[in-house]
Structures are given as C-alpha cells and as structure tokens.
C-alpha cells in the first residue's frame, strides 16, 4: 500500500483557510474515492481563490520531492491536489480509472490541478502520454502547470519530449529558468534545434531571447564562433551580456579570446554581476 503525501499539505491549508473553508475540507471522507472526486470538482463552490504565499520558498514542501512547490497556487488548486493525494491508496486499476475520468471531464482549472499533481501520483509511466500532451496544449495555464515548477517532466520525459517542452517554453516567451532541472538536462539535440532557431530568427530580422544561449554553450563548436561574434554586435545590451557569458563558460580557446575584446563585461562577469537568470524572460 502506498502512503500519501497528504500530511505535508495540511498545515499549509490550515494557514490559508477560513474556519468555514477548513470545516468543509475536513468534512470530506478521505477514504471514499467518489466523495473525493466530487469534492475535487466542487471545490470552487466552497473555497476562495486565496493565493498561497509560502514563506519557506527555498525548502521542499515534500522532503523527498525536490522541485514540487505550491507557491503562487490558489487555495482551490492546492485543495484539489490534496484531495487527489488520498487516492494513491487505491489499487492500480482503480486509481487509473478515477484519474482518467477526472481528466476526461476536466475544465481548465481542473486540468491545471491534475497536471500539478502528477509528481505525487504513483505509476508515472501511465500519466506520461497525458503529460507530453499537455505540452502541446494551447491553453497557457495548462502548459504552465506541466512545464513550469513541476519536477515530473525532468524525471519522466524522454529526450525528444523534454526538448519539445523547452522549445515550446521559448516559443511561448516564458522564463525557461522556471523549468525544473533545466541545466541538468542540456543535450546536443536541443542545442542543434536552438542553433537553427537562432539562424532562422536572425534571417527574418528578429531577435532571440538572450537566456536561451545557456542551453547551447557546451555544444558550440568553432564553426559557431561567428554567431557569438554577431551577438556581440547586437544593439541590445542583454545580447552582448549573453555573448560574454557564453565566452566565459566555453571551454574553447577562441571563445575565451573573444571575451578579452570586451573587458568591461569580462570584469562584470568575474565580479558576479551577470548570470543567465538576469536576462530576458527570466528577469
């Protein structure tokens, strides 16, 4: 029998609810799957949309689940995920049937809660197709629920799906810094896609978000030096900073040499003034 993570949510719920709201949360029989499912749907009729502001931002809500965080969720979403956490004690088939039913009839906010909960559900391989599908969603809130501040993709997505998630975050102009495990899952294929993305955008006379270069650094070869030289000539200061960061992090001599031509930025990077998190959509 699997144990539930529900206990970790309880103090947080207590802190963000009124007495009447807590009374309703407590009144739901946690051993009755159908009652939990109904409560999942009905939550907005009994709860406010109070935003959860966690003081312990840097600590994990659930100790063995780094990256799972509920900061800036609203109370309805938190309560819905809490209700779902009690379902893990069901048999595998029963659990799958219940979760699938909720998915199939979910509205926008229910979908957000469901995708937020994947990390605390067992049998990750079962949810994988839905999770990769959520990355294809055009509903921004649904996309965010799977792509940002969610450890599920980092642990479960195959490389191709992971790369699509990162690319789509960039296309949607969202901060890639919020993708859990971003730098640990850098890979050559992603870098190749991004290099051609850069060329495409530049040919069209457009810019690229400066923070995306961090994903290419280890894979840039001598042949791409000219891209960085072009970046140094950009009229946008953040492009120049990105170029300087690339050179400072590259293992190639030619790149390091290029940075010496821009002593101001070389010095500022050494003094810790710049890193990727200060650029573009991350900022």
């Amino acid at each position: 029998m699997l144990t539930s993570n529900s206990a970790y949510f309880y103090p947080l719920l207590g802190k963000h609810t009124t007495e009447a709201e807590m009374k309703w949360l407590d009144s739901i029989p946690k051993d009755n799957p159908n009652a939990l499912m109904t409560a999942f749907v009905k939550a907005p009729r009994f709860l406010s949309k109070t935003i959860i502001q966690e003081e312990l931002k840097d600590q994990n809500l659930i100790p063995n689940l780094p990256g799972f965080q509920v900061n800036n969720w609203n109370l309805v979403r938190l309560s819905r995920v809490w209700f779902l956490s009690f379902l893990v004690t069901l048999s595998k088939n029963e659990l799958i049937e219940k979760i699938e039913t909720l998915f199939d009839t979910a509205e926008l906010n229910e979908l957000v809660a469901l995708f937020s909960s994947l990390s605390i559900l067992p049998y990750p391989q079962v949810w994988l197709p839905r999770a990769t599908d959520a990355v294809r969603s055009n509903m921004g809130f649904v996309f965010d629920a799977i792509a940002l501040h969610n450890p599920f993709p980092y642990h479960e997505f195959p490389e191709l799906a992971w790369n699509q998630l990162v690319l789509k975050t960039i296309f949607n102009e969202k901060p890639i810094q919020m993708i859990y495990g971003l730098s640990q899952r850098k890979n050559q294929n992603l870098a190749i896609s991004l290099i051609s993305f850069v060329k495409e955008r530049w040919s069209a006379g457009r810019d690229v978000p400066p923070e995306i270069w961090q994903l290419m650094v280890p894979y840039l070869s001598e042949g791409e030096l000219y891209l960085v030289e072009t970046l140094f000539k950009s009229r946008r200061e953040e492009d120049v900073i990105a170029a300087s960061l690339i050179c400072s992090q590259s293992e190639l001599k030619s790149f390091q040499l290029l940075l010496t031509k821009h002593p101001k930025f070389q010095e500022e990077i050494q003094n810790g003034k710049w890193d990727w998190s200060k650029l573009g959509n991350n900022h």
Binding site: V41, P44, N172, E173
Partner: protein, 342 residues
Amino acid sequence: MCEKQSDLKTNPSHFENPKKTTDTPTHMDLKWDEYKDKIQGFKFFDPHIHMVSRTTDDYQNMAQAGIVAVIEPAFWVGQPRTGLSSFKDYYSSLVGWERFRSSQFGIKHYCTMGLNSREANNERLAEEVMEILPLYVYKEGVVGIGEIGFDDQTELEEKYYRLQLELAKEAKLPVQIHTPHRDKKRGTERSMSIAIEHGLDPSWVIVDHNNEETVKSVLDQGFYAAFTIYPFTKMGNKRMVSIVEQYGAERIMINSSADWGISDPLAIPKTAALMVSRGIPNDVIRKVTYENAIEAFAKSGQIQVSDFELSIPSDPNEKFHGNSVLRGGQLPKWNQNSLYID
C-alpha cells in the same frame, strides 16, 4: 448593424427568417471613432455571445469597447453533430479552451450548458447528451442551463426542454430560454407556461430574443426579457432604444448573440452609444447593458463581480498571467489599417 449595406445579400443566421426588402432599416452601423467618446467609462456585460465562432479581432475590439465579461450559451454550431463525443468536446471547450481564449483579452468568460432545441430532435443523441449533461452543469463558471427551449416546437423539443428545466431546479441554476423565430409569440408563451408548470420562479428565467410583440407578457409574468441586437433577423438597435424608452430598465437586458452568421459582437456598446445620443439616462443604460444580466445570472452563485470589475487591461500586450494565445513574437494588431505585417 448594416444600414449602409442595403446591397449586401442577407444571410439569415441562427435560424431562417425571410426578410422583407421593404423593411425600414432599424440598424445603424457606427464606426469606432464615431461612438467611442459616447461610451467612455461604461463597462458592458454580454450575457449571450457565441465566441467559439468569433475571432481574436473580435475579442480585441470587445475589450477595447469596454466589454468586461461574457456568457457563452451552449448552442447549435451550424453543422449537425452526429455523436456524443462532439457534444462532450464542445461542452469541454466552453469551460476550457474558450474560457482561456477569452482570458487572453482580459474578458471574464462564463457559460450556460444545455441541449439546444434544434438538436433535441435527434432523439438517440439527445438521450445520450442528457446522461452526460449533469457532469458539466456543476462546473465552475457555469451560470445557467441554456440555451434551451423551442425551435420547430416539436414534441421532442418539449420533452427535452422539460427535462432540462428539472435539471436546472436540481442544480439551482437560472435558465436561459431561446425563443423560436417562426411562430415566436406562441413559442414564447408556451416556453413560459411550461416553466411555471414546472414550478420555476420566473425571476430565475431569462427569456431571450424578445421583440415588440413578446416583451410585455414576459415582463408582466415576472421573467427577465433579453433582447438580441442582430442585423436582419432579430432586434434592430434603433428599435431597442424605443423599447427601453417605453418599458424602462427593470429586468431588461440586451445581448449580441454574435455567432457564425453576420452578427456584431459590438452590438451592446453600439446600442449604448445610441441610447446616450437619444438622451436615455446613464443609470438606465448601465442596467440594460451590465447590471441586470449580472443580477439575473449571479443567482447561480458563480459570478464574482470583483473578477472583472476591478481592472480592465486596456492593452492587449499585457499578458494575462504571462499567458498569450499569440504565437511567439506576435504582437496584437491594434491598427487594422496598417499595411505592414511584421
């Protein structure tokens, strides 16, 4: 709103209604620059609009004109549905994709759920739809059962109308009634008497698509009377002004019912501007274009006025929670006359 387009081939929408070409036009089309000053400071609530058939240009113009919230009734989409899955996906889109799309433009999106009268005539499918409908009526942001009622006034239409009135009672939701185009007067009376027979409180029922012939009886019996400002087939905006002059503002609301036909998602702001020009007091205008709709549908417990009353993002570049339907790098198009597409 096509007074100036007399040469335009009429394209009756929603349901056929032959138009006599000798009719005096009662539609007045206004350009944004001609009416924007008149409606400055007004907020509008459109309680009947089918955004699934509308474009992002419409959303932008609606937001610009002060529409802060809409209700999208479930309806017939033009192409008959052949299976339950199409209904499921359609209902899901009303609480999913369409809700999201609307949020991009800072417009709060509600909906009503129901089996429309036209498709109630497909009994096999109607039975299946009635089975899944309860799954959707309790969803967040569902403010009523609608649009339901009569089209051809068949026995099957009546059967499913009655079943859905019972569902509305059970779910404690208001009812949004579609009144037929053909034989409207009798259809309207029949819809109301059946609602009363089922024990519904008339103040929980919004009777839609009224005209000069139906309005008095609807108001006298305590129902809400909604008027659809729709070129060619329904109410003209000039006629609407006369109705407000005659009946006042109590329990009257106007809507656009804009859909896949030639219709106008800006019907409410334009009609409000006409009312301003005709000297109708601002508080009356506010009632029929905003407050009454909220009063009627808020009985569902699903409308939080603070969700849309506080701040209206006037600039579509402001992304709602950082989300955008705009594809990478796109900017919302404000100037429709610009030759350049960057």
